[in-house]
């Protein structure tokens, strides 16, 4: 009779611990039985459950005591498998981060001030840090103006990760082209860097004004 009762208590404890998303304290566990079981009994039975599961072969879970109480957890060696179930979703960069990256890629080397001027809004330091931690941008110098702001440029890792050989392989972006299309077609066809350089200088001068 008594052992029957003990078995039932153990079954309830086990079910409670396997279904609880957070560790259960002795007080929680007492509530299961409307406080009609002794704390010492509970503690003893928890030890028994722990040993039962340790003796189980093959076994998947263990009962452990952590700061806030008792919990069942998957054996550590299974964690690598279980972690495959919920791979961290690949993050997406925010629009702000993407634009910052684009400005650094296309206009490097640039300071934070340059980025802010282009985007018209303040740059979140986290955005820069995020890109630096990914090793996509780094500081290549300081501009010689008061405050000596850092100059950012893209790294080799950035090119590797985007499968580019050089920045010249970045998609060409022509906005508000003044020239008729035929001329820009010619530009693409020649692909000659020298021809393009001349274009560049003219334009960058204009933009710098």
């Amino acid at each position: 009779m008594e052992s029957n009762n003990t078995t039932q208590i153990k079954t309830i404890l086990e079910a409670a611990l396997l279904t609880s998303p957070s560790p259960l304290s002795l007080d929680d566990l007492l509530r299961l039985f409307s406080e009609r079981v002794e704390r010492t009994t509970l503690r003893m039975l928890l030890d028994e459950i722990k040993q039962d599961w340790q003796a189980r072969k093959p076994n998947s879970m263990e009962l452990v005591q952590v700061a806030s109480g008792w919990r069942f957890q998957a054996l550590a060696e299974l964690a690598p498998f279980l972690s495959r179930l919920n791979p961290e979703r690949p993050q997406r960069y925010s629009r702000a981060a993407m634009e910052t990256l684009a400005i650094i890629a296309y206009r490097q080397p640039v300071t934070r001030g340059d980025i802010e001027e282009l985007r018209g809004v303040a740059v979140n330091p986290n955005t820069i840090r995020q890109l630096q931690e990914r090793d996509w941008i780094d500081v290549v110098g300081q501009r010689d103006v008061p405050g000596r702001p850092s100059l950012y440029a893209t790294t080799k890792t950035f090119l590797d990760d985007l499968n580019l050989k050089s920045l010249a392989d970045l998609p060409v972006m022509e906005v508000f082209v003044e020239q008729p299309f035929s001329e820009s077609d010619a530009f693409i066809e020649t692909g000659s860097e020298t021809v393009a350089q001349v274009d560049f200088i003219d334009n960058s001068d204009a933009s710098a004004n």
């Binding site: 919990r71 690949p90 993407m98 890629a105 296309y106 501009r143 393009a196 350089q197």
Partner: protein, 266 residues
């Protein structure tokens, strides 16, 4: 058809008049303090009608419209008296009931009467509603996770494999396009491969200078391995760096080596 006959008969034989007054709505009476709570338990006019039908053991397929309408109106009046908000739905149903009742009192051509019972639509709705009402009760009786069912939810040590954001060239281009669109002073500016080459070299030169502090001008050119175009780009990059004040170019005197160093004078 039978109902029609009885309705008509009842109408033409008002011999039970006196009795009607005395034996009125015996189960319409509810203690006044309980009335509001009671009326609020109805989920709408159909629910109330169903209640009346079940209460009086009426045949749903052959509803005595006069009785049902009268009882129904009694409840609606009580609801109005205590200003229950549901009145509108209930009033609409009152109108419908009265309409059905009056249509039943009209004489009809004998040959169509069986298909043309004015109650048909009401009966269909009542039956459909009752079926749903019963289904809702059964659904409510099913065991529910969290109430009657506890699902396993033990702990495991999540090994977080952070996946970095995926960025495609298209994403980057779109972002750049956005920037350019917003930056109006960029109008007429053209960005091409060449600019990128120069800018890339600017970054590379800065990187080298950062490493070595100072470099001889000629050391920045790999004359043996680079073609003319690259050398020109490199030169342009140096000029651009100088123009932007990022590097200083110094020479002690004519024909001595030219040095580049990062501009650190402040």
């Amino acid at each position: 058809m039978n109902t029609l006959i009885t309705e008509v008969k009842a109408h033409t034989e008002p011999r039970l008049h006196g009795e009607a007054i005395t034996s009125l709505p015996h189960d319409l009476y509810i203690p006044p303090d309980a009335l509001e709570v009671y009326l609020e338990t109805f989920e709408g006019p159909l629910d109330l009608l169903l209640y009346l039908i079940r209460k009086h053991n009426l045949d749903i397929l052959d509803i005595p419209m006069a009785e049902l309408t009268r009882q129904y109106m009694g409840y609606v009046e009580k609801m109005q008296a205590i200003k229950l908000e549901l009145a509108a739905d209930y009033l609409l149903m009152s109108a419908m009931l009265i309409e059905i009742k009056s249509r039943m009192l009209l004489p009809k051509p004998a040959e169509v009467e069986s298909e043309d019972d004015p109650r048909a639509e009401l009966v269909r709705r009542l039956m459909e509603y009752e079926a749903i009402k019963l289904a809702a009760q059964k659904l409510d009786e099913l065991p529910q996770v969290g109430l009657d069912l506890m699902v396993a939810n033990a702990y495991f040590e999540q090994i977080i494999q952070v996946q970095s954001a995926q960025v495609s060239m298209e994403d980057l281009l779109a972002a750049w396009q956005n920037v350019l669109k917003r930056a109006s002073h960029f109008a007429h500016h053209k960005v091409g491969k060449a600019e990128l080459s120069v800018r890339e070299h600017m970054s590379q030169i800065l990187r080298k200078l950062k490493e070595h502090n100072m470099m001889e001008f000629s050391a920045l050119f790999d004359v043996e391995n680079e073609g003319i175009p690259k050398l020109v780009v490199c030169f342009l990059a140096i000029l651009e760096l100088a123009r932007e004040g990022l590097v200083k170019i110094t020479q002690q005197e004519a024909f001595t080596p030219i040095y580049l160093h990062i501009n650190q004078s402040t």
